[in-house]
Amino acid sequence: MTPVARVRAALAAAFAIEHRMRTIILIALGAPLAMVYMIALPAERYGAFSLQALALLTPAEAVAALVLGFGTMLAFALQAAAGGIGRRGEPLTLGGLLVALAPAGLCCTGVIPAILAALGASTPVLLRESGRYASFFAQYADLFVAGGVALVVLSVWLASARMTSACTTCPAPGVRPLRGGITNADDETLH
């Protein structure tokens, strides 16, 4: 089974008509999370976590925010459908969310100076070093966001793979699932 076919099969099984609540949860939680990222990603340039940061949102950031928001909830839904939350996959999903937030959280805030100060750095050291570390996140901000998106996409793929390997009644793409885990393909073979 190709990776795309595997994801399609997992989605078909996880979001079959009898599991419509999963779709509702996916949208109800994915949309606000995507909105949080639509504000957080340009907040690095705007300087504040505010709705006004949306004015600086680029198309690439909008796509990344949608993937991070809905992809995360999709991964959680697939992980739940595949046997439950709390196993492998979640650290990857959460890691992706945090990696994408790193530039906004660490670049131009007081976090890095606060960490250096907590480590005992004096004012002259802070003035020489805080920019060295903070500018790293500014310089590679796009890579951090891309890395976060990649981790979330990977977690969706892993959850799909886990679900399809664990599921013996998953329908193939294009095969309509029926109640009781029987597909219309099974139905035809029975006759």
Partner: protein, 192 residues
């Protein structure tokens, strides 16, 4: 409905709580930073006089803080690699006409050695902002190490102070362009 065992429901709730905590931590830390600066450098707290520095300007001259007495001004310490500083400059440019009408001023100063980060020269940031950045009342300069240590002892970038016409600090914070609505009245700008 997703049926999860009790322990896993708790795990999921904990993960969502962790995410919300991260999402709220960033603005909270931003709000905390100016207070940390005030704690590290009590001489530059709100209500105190602005330090009587002479700032080295990009134009080659020197701006004495005393020369600004009688006018409110925004004293802003930036790093040129800092995205919110660069974007903030472009956003502030939209308000320079009203700043001039109010006889206020902006003093934008690069932190000493860009706090150790590697950014472009401040002059290229200024040129990137456009013609508004060359307005008469927008001063661009570079802080010495001693001045940086007083204005920004915690090594945080994008720090600002609002100084009133009597030379006293009346507000401080981070990212002035994002807080323009609260800064404008302090500079004597009335909203239409």
């Amino acid at each position: 409905m997703i049926a999860l065992p009790h322990g896993r429901r708790i795990a999921l709730a904990a993960m969502i709580a962790a995410l919300l905590a991260v999402a709220t931590a960033v603005p909270a830390i931003r709000m905390h930073a100016p207070r940390a600066v005030a704690a590290a450098s009590p001489a530059i707290a709100i209500g105190r006089p602005a330090p009587p520095f002479a700032y080295r300007l990009l134009s080659g001259g020197v701006l004495h803080a005393s020369a600004l007495r009688g006018r409110p001004y925004l004293l802003w310490a930036v790093a040129t690699w800092c995205p919110s500083c660069v974007t903030g400059s472009a956003l502030l440019a939209r308000h320079i006409a009203e700043i001039e009408r109010a006889h206020a001023a902006v003093v934008e100063l690069e932190l000493y050695d860009d706090l150790g980060g590697s950014g472009p020269p401040l002059e290229s940031v200024r040129r990137g902002v456009g013609a508004a950045a060359f307005a008469r009342d927008w001063y661009w300069g570079i802080l010495t190490e001693d001045q940086t240590a007083v204005l920004d002892p915690t090594g945080t970038m994008d720090i600002y102070y609002v100084v009133d016409a009597r030379g006293r600090i009346v507000a401080q914070g981070m990212a002035p362009a994002a807080h323009w609505e609260s800064i404008a009245p302090l500079l004597g700008i009335r909203h239409r």
